[in-house]
Every structure is written in C-alpha cells, then in structure tokens.
Subunit: 213 residues, 4 copies
C-alpha cells in the first residue's frame, strides 16, 4: 500500500509550517505502507494542481493533506470540505477569493472517506490529544481538501483521502499570548498513528465524537 | 413579507435556552415584515417535522432557526449544514444517532441562501459582536438547519432560510469557569438586526469574513 | 454611610473605559449609602494623588476603584495589591515604569478589607457572573488599589477599600476575535450589588472561592 | 553552587504531576551547579515542613519549587506569594483551609528573589514558551512558595528562592476539551534553562513583562 502525505509551506507571516515540518519527520514506511511526502504551496488552485500531478505520478492508495490550524489545541481530523473559497488573508501568491466556488461542477461538500474516528482513537491511545473537526475553514486548507475529494469523486474512486489540521509548535507561540501549541515530535507521532489507523481500517469505527456546535 | 423564526427548547441540562428566550422578545414586525415565532423541541426528526408543518401553515418568505452555542463568544450566522447526525449527548427524547445521514436523498451539504454577511455586518454596526460560522456542529442545530435547507431545495424554492447560533446568557455561566456569555437583550437585538438585513438584502454582500480554520 | 467609587478613563487604544461608563450609571444612593463617583486618569502616581484628594474632600466610609480587565469573562473582586509597577504599555501620560516599588515604605502587598466574597456572592445571586481574583496585574489598576490600601493603612484606618475589575463591553470586541464581553447594564448592575454587599457586610463571609493557580 | 528543586505529587484527580515528572528528568548538574531533586506532598503545612527539612539537610544556594498549573499555556515563573490559604478543593490529606493566613507573623506577601525575568528570557530564547505570573493561586502552590520565602526572610537569607508553574502534559488532556498542554520534554527543557538563568544571574534583568490585569 502507498500513502501520499502532503504538508503546506509557511503562510500568514509564519516562518515555518508545522504541517510540513512534521510530515518531513515521518518514517518512510508505516504499518507496511510506503509513505510518499510532498510539500504543497499555500496557494489557491496551484495547490490542487500539484496535488493532482503527484497523485498521477505516485498513484497512492491513500492521500492525506496536512495543514496548520493556529489556535487549535489538538490534532484534528477533518470530516468534511465545502465548495467555497473565502480568504481572510491573501495566499502566498496574493490571491484572496471571496465566496467563490472551488469547482462549478462540484458538490456542495464532500465527506472524507478516511476512517476519521479510528484515526482519532489511535492517536489518543498513544497519548496524542486529537479530535474530529467539522470545519476546515474556508482558506487553502479547505480548498485542497475539497480538491482532493473532488478528484477522488470524479476520477480516482479507488483512493481514500482526507485532511488533518495540526496546532502551532512552541517556537511559533513565544510571542503570542495564550496560544496553545504542541511539540513537533508529538505532532509527527500523531500523524504516524493517524496514518497507521487509516492503513489498517477500511471502514470507520462507531464512536461518540460529535460536536453540539 | 413574512419571517418565521424558531428557537429550541432547553437541552443538555440547561434550564433555559437563550435562543427561544431571545426569539420571544422579538417585535412582531421588523423592517416591514411580519414575524412568526415558534418553539421547536431539541429532538432529531421531530424538530424538522414541526418546522415543515409550520412552514405549511404559515408560508413564510424567510425562515431562520436559532439555537444555543454554549462556549461561543458572539452571535454566529451559519454558512452551511452537513448531511450527518453525530450526537455527543442524547437529545430531549433520548435519541443519540452516530454518523447517520439526515436524508438519504439529500446532498452532502446545503449552503444557507440568506445574506449571511449582510446579517453579520448589520449586527456589528449596531454594536452586537457577530461573525460567520462554517460549522453548525453535528447535533440538532445542524440537523434542523439541514432539514430546512433540504425542504427549501426539494419543495419550497421560494423560501430563503438559514440558522443563527447564540451564546449562553449570563445566568447560565454563573457556575461555569471562563465561559463567555451575552446579555439576553443584546442577543434579541442581534436577532432583530439579522432579520432586518435578511429582509432588506435579496443578495448577499461581498465582505472579508472567511476563516483560516 | 458614604461610598466613593472611581472609574478609570480609556487607555491602551480603547475609545471608552467600561469601568467609568458603568460607574456613571450607578444610582446616587445604594442600600442607604450615598454614592460619590469620580473619574480617575490612567496614569501612575497622578491617579493616587487624585484619589487621595477625593478621599480628603469626601471622607467616604468605603472606597472602591474600578478598572477594565480586557479578556476576563466576569466581574472580578480583587483580593490583594502588590508593591510593584511593571507596565507592559505606556500609561496615558507616557510613563512606563518597570519593576519599581509603588511606595518605598509600603508593605509588599495589602489585602482588601472589603467583604470580597460577600460581594461576589451578591452579584452571582443577582445573575451577574463574578469571582474573586488574586491578581490585579502590575499596571495602573494594581497601582491605584495598592495606593488606596497604603493610604488606608497609613492614614485612613476607618475606611474600607478595594478594587473591582470589569470585562470589555460588546462594542469593544466587535473587531476582536474570541474576546469575552459583558453588557454595560450588567456591569453596572454587578457594581450595584457589589456596593450593596460592601455596605451591608462589615465582615466577610466564609465561602469556597480560592484558585488552584 | 547547589540548587534544590522540588515537584509536587499528583492531586485533584490527576494520575501524575507534570511538575515532578519534569524535575525527575533534569540533569544532576546544570551550569556548574549540583541539582538536588525532591518530591513534596500536595499537603498544606507538611509540604513546608518537608521543604525546610530538606533545606536544613542540603543547604542549597537556590531553592525552586515546581507545581502544576492546569489550564495555563506556558511555563510561568511566579513573582509573588501571598499570606493566605484558600483551598477550592481538598489537598491530599483532606485539608481545605479557607482564608487562613499561612504564618501569623509573616508579611502580607513575599516577592521571589530569583531573577524571574532572566529565567523567562532564557526559556524563550530556547524556544520554550514562558512568562512571568503575578499569582500562584491560593492552594498548596502559593502555600509552599510563601513558606519558602518566609523561611528565606526569617532564617536563610543567603538562599535565593521562588516558584515555577508548568502546564498539563498531553496525556492529561486527552479527555479534556480545549485544554492547553506542553510536552514533558519541553517542560524539563524549560526548567533546565530557568535553573541555568537563576544560577548565572545574581540580579534580575530589566525587561517589559508586566500584565495589565
């Protein structure tokens, strides 16, 4: 089995992106699956183009994109991506779409077909705080997750895919007040066990993990 | 013009639901529109049944459901509802669905066709903290919002509809530590101006209000 | 009985100070006590000078200073003031002392001799979220509280005095993300009941209200 | 030079105390100083008795007590301890004092005579989030810090002493919602550099690190 895992480059004034830093630290083989790592620019459209080209080249069985969620307390596995770009800040090539659909012929939203609860459970059992999230925002993170699931839906139905958000790492919050962070090693460990659960669970498990709001 | 506005009854151990308390305080006429108020039980399926019956009876031009978002800092206008029930706690009739679709023949998600950003802007200009939210959770709030938009999509295409989440009010947080709240009068004032903007704006405005995650 | 209650003017880029706005709204008589209101500049030393002059003029039985605590969720009655100025920002006359004692001959700290827990209890019983705080910071709020208690300790032993911190009001957090606020009317109501409890309780009550940290 | 560093045992329903876990991981020699480690029970009075006995036995030049601050985002060096016990929960031997002075003949408060800002600066420069705190609460953490500084003031004037609070570690927040944490290795690294700065700085540095409230 082959797993493609991507991480964005830094954006929003940050010098590093913990997503890519953690992806780089992953083993080349997890739970018997070969791990392919790819950095993706934090840019609307171009991010999906590069993702699709990598999928074409590598033909992975599983594709997981990883992004930074500054302000979140733990690693969150995203449940759903929505068909909208609504950028609060400019991306890394100065695009700032407001309320534009990502694909005119796409569905309103796509659910990840990864075993998101099994992934959360596996991280927690290994002492990494994790939860399911029901929004990936409306910036490039949601954009690439939507693009990935659109591509799976339209062309690559044999691939399972989704998105994981990771917190700031400590060096990013030195000058921020009351901002949660997670050690880079713990983020990488969390991703390791999330991938392991994705490889080992074709179907998701039943687990209480909803949100009231 | 006629506006139907609903509020849930109390749930999750709370004695009151600020959503319904605020809806009750609304004027009977806002911006020239007649306001119809309806309490809805915090119960999967039954909430949508009662909503549909009320729509049949009242034939509103606009329908807005309102629910409590304990822990949120301001009034949030929801952008999207997703086709899933995933209950962290039981509803008021002891249902606790986990990862079940709301409608088998529904789309993955529906976007509100209310002018959500105009509603946020109008509230802010009247000194009520407000923002757009990209998740209504996976409990009965998302459930009824999805049900409303499903009904609009399938049967009542002339109706515009959506969902607003409101914070706890002060009396609910007396015993909670570090829980934000908003005065009931301010919540009612916020709903007033949100309705006003919905009545006055057929189309939404362009405004930077996206979320990175 | 006579109660002097002071509120600071705006600082730190804010256009208003909810402390003074709330003080202005107070009744002129609370629980049989005459209420004297005084605005105080957010300036090191000068604030204490004006406070002392007002005490000389008015000869109050109780003196309570009120200040803004941006970021706090509820009204906090301060327990203790410490003998240090350590300013993160400049005051309203561009003073920014760092780690300087307020009075060379003062004690390291003074405890408020107001019935702080009775005040918290009275506010809560009237549905205003409130708690005891163990730090008034190291800016002008702690400075004037320390100054008041120093003066009581050295010269005005018949006066009972202390400090109350109040949250932002909603109009101050329109542009702030995830900042708690409290309606001005609720802040004024809270101060009313805090004063009432101070007037009616010579001695404080026993109540569990400590903080682990 | 000899540094005594203590950590509390678990309390409040937790299975471990990150303070002691981190202290255990410290090197036996930091910046040329010998490090003496001691676990202290989370018990009023007994904690100070054991601390004093250890001081008598070990005759350290520097004494630093470390405790858990669940809910804090970073490592905090405490500035001041106040002469009061006010326990929100029972300690580990079921004591729950409310508003009792720690020492009848003690001052209202004692300031740490450690170089608290140099310690914060050293941690930050090594990528460990840290800040100065102006309250150690009113539970056993403040109690032992006050006891230590009382003893220094009354009997051991050659010792420099203070207190450091550390956040939860990840395994403690798996079941908690929105609770910040810090990796145990990072806490230990932070303590290492805090001790280094304490050893190397007889006098504190001037640095803007005050709190508005």
């Amino acid at each position: 089995m082959k797993v493609l895992i991507t991480g964005f480059d830094p954006f929003g004034g940050e010098k590093i992106n913990p997503a890519w830093e953690a992806v780089k630290k992953l083993d080349d083989n997890i739970a018997g699956a070969k791990i392919i790592k790819k950095q993706i620019p934090t840019v609307f459209k171009k991010s999906i183009d590069i993702l699709e080209k990598t999928i074409e080249d590598e033909k992975p069985d599983i594709a997981i994109c990883v992004g930074q969620a500054g302000g979140r307390y733990n690693i969150t596995v995203e449940r759903v991506a929505i068909n909208i770009d609504d950028a609060r800040i400019e991306d890394n090539e100065n695009n700032q779409p407001i309320d534009e659909p990502i694909y005119e012929d796409g569905e309103n939203a796509y659910f990840s077909n990864l075993p998101i609860k099994a992934m959360v459970k596996e991280m927690r059992e290994n002492n990494i705080p994790a939860s399911v999230s029901n929004t990936a925002g409306t910036f490039v993170c949601n954009h690439i997750m939507y693009g990935l699931l659109y591509l799976i839906n339209k062309k690559y139905s044999n691939i399972r895919g989704g998105f994981i958000h990771v917190p700031f790492i400590p060096e990013q919050v030195i000058e921020k007040k009351n901002a949660p962070s997670m050690a880079l090693d713990d983020i990488a460990k969390g991703l390791h066990f999330a991938i392991k659960a994705a490889v080992e669970n074709e179907e998701d498990i039943q687990m209480t993990e909803g949100k009231i709001c």
